[in-house]
Amino acid sequence: MATETIVWLLPLPPLLAFFLIVLFTNKSKALSHSIGVGAALLSFVGSMVVFFRALSVEHFGEGEHIFASSIPWLPTGDTFLRVGVQIDPLSAVVLFFVAWTILMIFLYSVGYHNFGQPKGDHDHPGLPPHGATVTDAHGHKHTVLSVEPMYSRFFAFLGLFAAGMYTLVISDNLLTLFVGWEIMGLCSYLLIGFWYAKPSARNAAIKAFMTTRVGDVFMLLGLAYLYSATGTLSYREIFYNQEVLHHLAETSSHVFGLSAAGLIALLLFIGTIGKSAQWPLHIWLPDAMEGPTPVSAMIHAATMVSAGVYMVIRIFPLLTADWHGHDLTTAMSVVAFIGTFTAIFAATIAVAQNDIKKVLAYSTISQLGFMISALGMGAYIAAAFHLVTHAFFKALLFLGSGSVIHGMEHGVLHTGNHHVDPQDMWNMGGLRKKMPITFWTFLIGGFALSGFPLVTAGFWSKDEILADAFAHGHWAILITLSTAALLTAFYTMRQITLTFLGEPRTKEAEHAHETPWTMTLPLAVLAVFALGYGWVGIPEHFPGLGGLLPNWFHHFVGATLLEHPEAVEFSPIPLGISLLVALGGLTLGWLVYKDVKAGQPDPLQKPLGVLYPFLQNKWYFDEFYAFFVIKPMTWISEEFSYKWMDRQLIDGILHTVAQTALWIGSSLRNYFDKPIINELLGDKLGAYWTFQPAGRALSKAQTGRVQSYLIGAVAVFLLVAAALYLFIF
């Protein structure tokens, strides 16, 4: 099959799986997950074929050396808007990690939703399963995990989500990228609100959708601007066309002194702020943890939030259109500022979270901030590299945390104490013995996130960002990101220590249990990538290791850009910083939390003082938005627009007109019609004196007999005929 055909077909299996499951197989759990996983596998195989074919093409990414194909989609006057698919080096590497993580998440979901377990005793659709009571051979009753009541639906949604992500990756233009982007938005809404009967999940779903939609409408505006300025939305025709870019950079947008290119890039970037949960639109992502864990992994690591960064990487030529390699342009500074601030801001919040998934959520926000920051400084390769490695190790961490929670739920069902929150890290401890596979893989993921030197992928990618910041002299960014990296290592170690090390702090943790193979296998596979993927991007001048392996990632992805970016010169200073913050943070985390006993408060609480509740409450951003955005908007909707403007102002004017007319009418009636016309002219003159007597007299003619009428008729006829004869003919 031609590679282009395969590329076209990539989103199809999961999409078909969605329709098949929704329409036909939703009653059968086994059939549904077979279709779902099978579809993911098909797309995975296709993606791998495409990826390895891409590797075998020489000078892949330069000029026409890509896989591309397009069709006309929308007629626009005399021209067509064409849409199509394209695989260039950037989309190839993204496709690679997307395919892997999606497949792993599909597989993981089978175990996570307790396939094969009995139906729950009191489970309802829309609520997480509560467990089922079974009687074993000896007559003892056990409470075990029960299967998710909406199991099939979950796979349908995952399928649609995967279809959206594949669409986004293979697009050759921003419009279909936006299509995939929004389909994922819908799926994230559906999946976060998967347990929709929980008010918290329901609200989180709406929050996610609406917050990202804020970004999306700006992005749509950006698309419209870009399209009207260039007449196309295709990557090739805009981002790989110096003339167009130059023209856009020269044109003023009349807004804040930005060039057209800068404004478009910023408008599109606002879409990313929403989608990748950057400050100030980050608020949805932590709440999105209400969804089942595979969803969190899917949305927060592998696909959706990555899509935001992917888009900025795509529009990088536009963002940097009027950049000459030295001082950052306004647009770039904005991007860099948002990214850097988000990185540190989210890291501080993560330090004070107790929920195992919330820590990861803030960590994701923070890591995405790293990438955005890198893009803002012009570090294209570093951002792309971190995007890929992060996707692997963050998916691993999320799935690992899901495994932990699953194990804890086992313990909760065993003790029957449902007040114990299986997600609270303070209820855990000592799980390394109970769940060894989960522990080791989580450890790998955590170390990758912290940037543990040399062996983990996270080290290489994060180091590259810091090196870029150093090389171009962005000191503020360098310091901030280093601090954020230190915090990252610290809270990661805090999480690992609290969860896995030490002694169990609750009975539930003692009875936790390792999860089935469908869950641990994905962990193991992702762990391999979390370690190994860094090796494809080792800088050439790195002492000792540099040059052993070629810096494949840099060469391959670098070919995506028109001007291949230069690798930054090696310097020991950022490397030293990297080592220091990673190892320092990890050590610190271990030291602070290694001896935490059950019931003991967070050791940080005392030294941080009032700062601790401030961090724990996420800098009070939710409250800020509730008061300054949601409340006024609700007021405008309910009171101003509807009650005041429509009901009172507009309808009031109408009713006033109507009542005035009524008043005029009733006055005429009461003071003219009734006394003069009706009574005087009508009743007296007309009716009483004239018509009534006449009527009475004439009524005698109404005999009711047919023949007398007939006689009258014949007589009149004769008269008329005679008259006609006499006077006319």
């Binding site: 007999r705 023949q707 007398s708 006689i711 014949v714 004769l718 005929a721 005679a722």
Partner: protein
């Protein structure tokens, strides 16, 4: 000079007029209906005189055979009045007589007004001309009167259904 056909015509005209007068004047309705039969027979003779043979036969078969008989049946079904020997004309009969007379005078006046042109005599039938087949063709050919003919048949059907419906004895009432 009076030829044979004129004799026949005058005889039948006399029959028609006398019977018609009897139809509208006798008290017994059965008799009136029988006088109608006689009138219609006279008319059939007139048709024959006019060489409209099909109509003459149809007049006998349809009018006398069906319609007049139907009248007799109806008269017998409403028997109470059949037995009544009271006055059979209403209070306005003088007016009616006057009007009928005026109508006759007016018609006669109009007819006489045409004068000599009405003294025209019938032309002889052309050789080989068959008025019955001509009538048949006229009734069924699309250039002729097929559509009115069909409409008339629909009318008959409607009348049939309608009269059955109207006369139906609704047991529940």
């Amino acid at each position: 000079m009076i030829d044979a056909s004129q004799v026949i015509f005058l005889l039948s005209a006399g029959l028609i007029v006398v019977s018609a007068v009897m139809v509208v004047s006798v008290r017994n309705l059965v008799h009136a209906a029988l006088w109608l039969v006689s009138t219609l027979f006279g008319v059939a003779v007139v048709y024959a005189v006019l060489e409209a043979s099909f109509l003459a036969v149809a007049q006998v078969v349809v009018y006398i055979g069906a319609i007049a008989i139907m009248f007799i049946f109806a008269v017998m079904l409403t028997r109470r009045d059949l037995l009544s020997k009271s006055e059979q004309t209403n209070a306005n009969w003088v007016w009616a007589l006057g009007l009928a007379a005026i109508v006759f005078v007016a018609l006669a006046f109009i007819i006489s007004g045409y004068g000599a042109s009405l003294n025209r005599l019938p032309a002889a039938m052309p050789e080989g001309y068959d008025p019955i087949s001509a009538l048949g063709n006229a009734l069924v050919s699309p250039e002729g009167f097929a559509l009115p003919f069909e409409v008339a048949s629909v009318l008959l059907l409607a009348a049939l259904v309608g009269s059955v419906y109207v006369a139906l004895n609704k047991a529940k009432e």
